[in-house]
């Protein structure tokens, strides 16, 4: 009994101390600001440790060292751009927004119309009147990726990725298939049939994350359009034909794998799928996991059409509300676009740098030589188009397209599913 009372007393004491400790912010970063004007800003990113998180930490550490009057703290948001957007929503609802964030392309319109932010052009004219930072570093084409449906530049393009066709060269060589056979989707389909007949393995896997980026690339490469004049336009003959080829591979020929992203890529790395169509950001993971010769080429096109891909990744947007923070965020943002920063960033994430000068940088060039799978991704940037972002109810629209994909890959009629999806989206535009 004595011991128990003692235990109880200790327990209450500990609880009291704990509460006190909690109040004092033990275990959390306390913000002791020196009397000098140090501006603290927060940077939200989506880079897990295995996808550039370390690079982000290095960049931030370096910036903090060289800019003693601006201190940046970086926060990782799990679950990619969707997760970041969720956290941003909560932050906005409680009026404690971060100062600079990565916004995924699919969220351009949603972010632009619902959140308070400072456009790059406004930041430049406010804090850098005579510089031409934006026009000097970005081409018009690159900037177009970050414009909302009203043509307003919401942020500066930061991470750029394109989908590329990875293939298991060891397996393809074994069955006499050349990379040149994979230049068209029809060729890919044929190769997949060959692989399946000869080895029983799947021929193709197209990524299936919580968005339809890769599927859009397939449609665009048959000359179809996803959005036209602000309305969904993928239910066209060309769009249907593209999806039909895909569906036949999955449902009829059973040469293409239909499974969530992680499972599909694991199957490819394990040598059970010959070809994988996914983002260049997976290149270093693929390279270090496989035990066969893996290579990549540019996205296929349909016969008679050009290969067109939507660009992936994100932009940096300034969400700070007070001038001091906005200015600090702008300084930090410019630092992130230094050639050396961009090369570090690219090496860590597998994304492509958004500025032409970084692409020409010798460090980057030698990095690409060591990682040849980046080459096709770079080659596609000049012809890439913005990732579709519907002006109104964009999140719903993306979900509708995901649903259409799931239905088609389960066997529903391509024609009627695409038609219904298009109508549903356009009802809300």
């Amino acid at each position: 009994m004595k011991i128990t009372t003692h235990f109880r007393k200790t327990a209450f004491l500990v609880a009291f101390l704990a509460a006190l400790g909690g109040l004092l912010g033990v275990g959390g970063a306390s913000q002791v600001q020196a009397a000098s004007k140090v501006v603290n800003i927060s940077y939200w990113h989506v880079n897990a440790q295995t996808q550039g998180g370390a690079a982000v930490d290095d960049l931030v550490k370096n910036f903090n060292k060289t800019h003693p009057n601006i201190q940046v703290s970086a926060k990782y948001n799990p679950n990619m751009y969707q997760g970041l957007m969720q956290n941003l929503q909560s932050a906005q609802a409680s009026n404690k927004v971060p100062d600079i964030v990565q916004v995924g392309w699919a969220y351009t319109n949603y972010f632009g119309s619902n959140f308070k932010y400072l456009t790059p052009t406004a930041a430049q004219s406010k804090f850098d009147k005579n510089s031409h930072f934006i026009t000097k570093n970005f081409t018009k084409r690159t900037l177009s990726f970050a414009k909302d449906s009203n043509g307003k530049l919401v942020g500066l393009p930061y991470s750029l990725s394109t989908p590329i066709l990875y293939y298991n060269k060891t397996m393809l060589d074994k069955y006499g298939i050349k990379a040149s056979d994979l230049a068209t989707w029809e060729g890919v389909s044929g190769a997949a049939k060959k692989i399946k007949a000869a080895s029983g393995n799947y021929g193709l896997y197209i990524q299936e994350p919580g968005d339809t980026w890769a599927q859009q690339a397939v449609l665009l490469s048959n000359g179809a359009k996803i959005i036209q004049k602000g309305k969904a336009a993928f239910d066209s003959k060309k769009g249907q034909a593209a999806y039909q080829l895909y569906q036949d591979m999955v449902v009829k020929d059973k040469t293409a794998l239909h499974t969530p992203w992680a499972q599909g890529m694991d199957a490819f790395v394990n040598g059970k799928v010959a070809i994988a169509y996914t983002t260049v950001a997976q290149a270093s993971h693929v390279k270090s996991s496989v035990n066969f010769d893996v290579q990549a080429i540019t996205s296929p096109h349909f016969k008679g059409q050009k290969a067109v891909v939507p660009v992936g990744g994100s932009m940096l947007a300034i969400t700070a509300q007070k001038t001091a923070q906005q200015k600090a965020a702008w300084v930090f943002e410019k630092y992130m676009y230094d050639n050396s920063s961009l090369v570090t960033w690219s090496k860590g994430t597998g994304y492509l740098p958004p500025t032409s000068s970084a692409l020409k940088d010798p460090t980057f060039k030698s990095y690409v030589n060591d990682n040849p799978m980046l080459k096709p991704a770079i080659a596609q940037i000049d012809t890439a188009v913005p990732w579709t972002s519907f002006p109104k109810n964009g999140l719903d629209a993306e979900q509708t397209m995901i649903d259409a994909r799931d239905k088609i890959l389960a066997g529903s009629s391509v024609k009627s599913t695409l038609k219904a999806a298009q109508e549903k989206i356009n009802e809300q535009q």
């Binding site: 128990t4 959390g28 927060s42 990619m80 992680a262 950001a281």
Partner: protein, 272 residues
């Protein structure tokens, strides 16, 4: 005949044990594999080229001790909170009489049935307004009560013979003494067992802490695990498994120490 039958049952139970434990072994085995091996020697529980590299990378990239401390601190705070509030409330329900007791109890128990999607955002707003973002208290505050604790303590208290309580009243022992010196010692097994369960659950919690904790220095282990799961860049499975193995150590130790209580008296009072 009888031993044969019994062996049949044992076989079934052993199969169940295997099915439950194999994933654990798989997790630990993978934490010692290289990335290539984890893909290409999937079925092997003994790694082909065993390596400590995953653990070394982890200790380099994350402050492991800090993470463990943060998680431990948080879980302890929440557990002590749930235990104290639970005991006080159960005592009140068991030994006090007041109007509307039934309704208050109903309201308390109903809180178990409220899905977390309902409470996430409003709680976040409250914590943010109270300036408790990024603190351990901010994470712990909404979790300081658990109606399941109240229910269990109530059941246990109900088994204490009335005569004991009545004699305490006759001797004019004040309430808090009754609680501290008589009831709690009797309830000790329940307290320990439900406390261990609260602790382990809080240890593994990640949905709510993700909203509140922002700085790496205040992260808990489950949050750090999120850092190693990436759909975009591909998940390094063995690395994640190494962190998962580290995550399980404290709960396992607590389990080994208190399993006698946990497994024997989740609902008994252990009255001697």
């Amino acid at each position: 005949m009888r031993p044969f039958k019994a062996n049949g049952w044992h076989l079934l139970l052993l199969v169940i044990c295997l099915a439950l434990i194999l994933p654990v072994l798989f997790m630990v085995a993978n934490s010692f594999k290289t990335l290539q091996d984890s893909y290409h020697t999937m079925w092997q529980l003994i790694p082909l080229h065993p390596t400590l590299k995953n653990y070394q990378t982890l200790s380099r990239q994350v402050a492991l001790l800090r993470l463990i401390w943060n998680t431990f601190f948080m879980a302890t705070l929440v557990t002590l909170g749930k235990l104290s509030t639970g005991l006080l409330a159960a005592y009140a329900f068991q030994y006090f009489h007041f109007r509307g007791k039934k309704w208050v109890y109903f309201a308390f128990v109903a809180t178990i049935f409220i899905p977390f999607t309902v409470t996430m955002i409003p709680n976040y707003l409250v914590i943010a307004k109270a300036n408790l973002l990024n603190t351990a208290l901010g994470v712990a505050l909404p979790q300081l009560c658990d109606a399941t604790g109240i229910m269990i303590f109530l059941k246990a208290m109900a088994k204490i013979p009335r005569s004991l309580i009545e004699s305490a009243y006759l001797d004019q022992i004040p309430t808090h003494r009754l609680l501290m010196n008589i009831i709690i010692p009797i309830l000790r097994p329940s307290i320990i067992s439900i406390g261990a369960i609260f602790f382990i659950n809080s240890w593994n919690e990640y949905v709510w802490p993700t909203l509140i904790l922002k700085d790496k220095s205040s992260f808990t282990l489950p949050l750090a695990l999120q850092n190693y799961i990436s759909s975009e860049g591909g998940t390094n499975f063995p690395l994640a498994m190494a962190l998962a193995t580290i995550m399980i150590i404290v709960p396992l130790v607590i389990y080994m120490v208190f399993q006698r209580y946990i497994l024997n008296s989740i609902s008994n009072s252990g009255l001697k």
